[in-house]
Amino acid sequence: MSNPMLQLRDIHKAFGTQHVLKGINLTVEKGEVVVILGPSGSGKTTLLRTVNFLEKADRGSITANQFTVECLDAKKQDVLMLRRKTAMVFQNYNLFANKTILENVMEGLIIVKKIKKKIAEKKGLEVLDKVGLADKANAYPNQLSGGQQQRAGIARAILLNPDVILFDEPTSALDPELVGEVLTTIKKIAQTGVTMVVVTHEVSFAKEVANRIVFMADGNIVEQGPPEKLLVNPEKERTKQFLSRITSEKGSTDFSN
Amino acid sequence: MQFFVDNLLAIISVAPVTILLAVTAMVIGATIGLGCAIIQIYKLPFINRLVSLYLAVIRGTPVLILMFLAYYGIPQILFSLAQSTSLNISVNAVPPIFFAIIALSLDRSVYLTQAIRSAIQSIPNGQLEACYSVGMTTFQAYKRVIIPQALVIAIPNVSNLFLGAVKESSLASIVSVVEMMNMSNIQAVNSYRYTEIFIIVSLLYWGICLGFEFIFSAIERRLMKGKMTV
């Protein structure tokens, strides 16, 4: 526990009477790729959204690269600061509909980081090249396929050079034949040593990319460990159940290049 | 207080004229509108273009101008006709409300065309095909299936257009029809208490509009409910 990049302490969240997160503690080291697995309704997406304050947790604290925010009395400035240390890749891409792909990835640099437009443009084109979208720089989101939009969403996130990138089910809105290209992109990013937290259904992808897998159910972390341990030899009954159902369905995309 | 009540009653006494103007304008406007909508839907050659021109011209002209054109223009045209043909036509006996209704109807017909057209087009084509499959003619299909369904869909629009007609009927005051607005003018000039009178009449219009809005939404809810249970 030398250099935690992200630390969640006792995160609680309820929607009305529904207790969605029941005290989550999670530490992510620098450069670590943590994949959160779990059945739908387990609270994994909500957890990710509380980290970026898209949902405000009812209790607990969040530390991103030594900057701590107590969720209950978070000030506007704190929230902004936290958001600027993290970046999010959304399930539905959420590219800005009124901006081109290049403008989408540059937006954060120009507005938030106050970088000069020329430099931002250069960096934007570089990152688009990295995700294989250099030729789509001047296209608008609605002219792209889902997979292309999601790769642009990833480019937007990494260009901000955040301490942690949060992926919220980045492939679940995609047609099956487009999943591969996005996962390849994420894997490529993971190899550059960026700290990442990924919520996904893709077990085989998790196996390949994760340093650690966290299994969540009913608002709690059931167990966590390296993929070779957790996926092959889980300790808890709940995890076994989930994994056996997944493998019997064979729903996950095989991801072995 | 007595002043308030007296004036309120005086203005309410001509409220039927306001309602009459609005209702007639809507009925005549809907008749014209239905014709125009069908011509537009079936894109009848040539007439379709005439209809588009008609709609554009009326839409681009203030009701007030339509009112003046009807009020001054029709008698003037008939007068010239009478002179040149030496027929004995006179419009002196025609009450001004007649011209006001013409102007209001023309204006409403434009918006009703839109409302009717979009309502008819929102009925799935399968409904028409189903009518044909049981052997109905197009006319029967419209009368028995398409238009009844379209009416329900059109209610919110028709409601808005009717409220618009109530408000626009106030312009008839300018061609000396004694409806609510004109009565207020008369009362105001007599009493010199313009502010109070116009507050009264504005509250009255507001009340009438809210009332009709309520009625229309009740009708809609009723019809929708019927649709659900069937």
């Binding site: 958001r83 954060g108 507005i111 | 001054y72 040149s84 105001a188 116009f198 507001w206």
Partner: protein, 233 residues
Amino acid sequence: MDQIIDLTFMGSAFPRIIEAIPTTLVLLCLSMLLGLVLGFILTVMKVKGNKAMVLLASTYISFMRGTPPIVQLFLIYYGSPNLLSYFGMNVDRWDKMIFAFIAFGLGNAAYLSEAMRSAYLSVPSLQLEAAQSVGMTDIQAFRRIILPQTLVVAVPNLTNSTVIVLKNTSLAFTIGMVDLVGQARMVSSAAFGAKNLEVYLIAALVYFVLCIFIEQFSQFLENYFKRKMGQLR
């Protein structure tokens, strides 16, 4: 009297009537401007305000939508001097234009705020989340992401409102303004009222052409915004 419509007279009356176009257009612009500002405030009250503010804005909008423009005009023209004299203001000398544009602007604000609100609500909240996730402040997100998308949706409604306000400005003659209608009436009475049909035909034509200009301009604006969002190429 060999022809029903006196075209020679129309030819000579036309240039005199169109002299009033600037008055009508200034009235239109001022009314739209006041309507936009006030409409924006009403929208913010309805979207972000507390219960009392929502109620206040809704009542205002309901009243303005439930009363005829001519009644609103008379209320302002005859009523406001009375009201303002309580506060020691004497507005008898004010130009009639001021009363007219305030009346039309107040009424117009109600319609515009409805248009703005529905346009604002049509932009998915996910767009705001995306802006927040890259670290924008609320103001930055509104200005750079939400507002541009709202505008595209709002253009057709704003055009409709502009056309409606243009047509409503024809009422200004009732308080003695010399707008297009007022001017037409003056030209008509100079001809001893025998040429009413002709002058109002001219007025109708002018309004019709102005409407077409407004619609063309808005089509241009809409295409421009859509191109900016890649919906048109």
